[in-house]
Amino acid sequence: DAGVTQSPTHLIKTRGQHVTLRCSPISGHKSVSWYQQVLGQGPQFIFQYYEKEERGRGNFPDRFSARQFPNYSSELNVNALLLGDSALYLCASSLGFKVEAFFGQGTRLTVV
């Protein structure tokens, strides 16, 4: 079975641009969460979606948004990119709550 897949794996954008990151969860998993990991730190929670509804939001500006589609895949959108948005963006999927979560390989975003 395929694990959590994220695309693209690497991305370079210019300040002020917009970016869309994509995540396909493990088949059967209905929960998708997004995390941002800057160099040298642990991942920080951005969003969680379950059954296409937002179930949690971290302390990130409104430039960050996300959605979940009927097939449970998800997109993370970031507008007006800043240099500080450069990070590894990780997607996690799980069957639901209080169960084991699995992470994708991440998308490494560089803003120049």
Partner: protein
């Protein structure tokens, strides 16, 4: 918010040595997982262990939820064990992981 503290922050071992990594957390949790982050950034699941003890080969983990800590044991370490180990918890009544800052392990041949 919850504090997740991992120790030590850095650890250097000779191949074949044993080690213990610790994770302390400041609130009651529903979920606790240990991950190994590979050089390419992917978080590899090691243990899902909100309580109790589990073993998988040379690795084992113990979580004492009532005392709010978890331990990851690595025995007979190998160079391929090198990398960053993260502990992550889900606090009761929330749905998000809180990660510690990680333990960076370097196993030398």
């Amino acid at each position: 918010g919850i504090q997740v503290e991992q120790s030590p922050p850095d650890l250097i071992l000779q191949e074949g040595a044993n080690s213990t990594l610790r994770c302390n957390f400041s609130d009651s949790v529903n979920n606790l997982q240990w991950f190994h982050q590979n050089p390419w950034g992917q978080l590899i699941n090691l243990f899902y262990i909100p309580s109790g003890t589990k073993q998988n080969g040379r690795l084992s983990a113990t979580t004492v939820a009532t005392e709010r800590y978890s331990l990851l044991y690595i025995s007979s370490s190998q160079t391929t064990d090198s990398g960053v180990y993260f502990c992550a918890v889900v606090v009761v009544n929330t749905n998000k992981f809180y990660f510690g800052s990680g333990t960076k392990l370097n196993v030398k041949p």
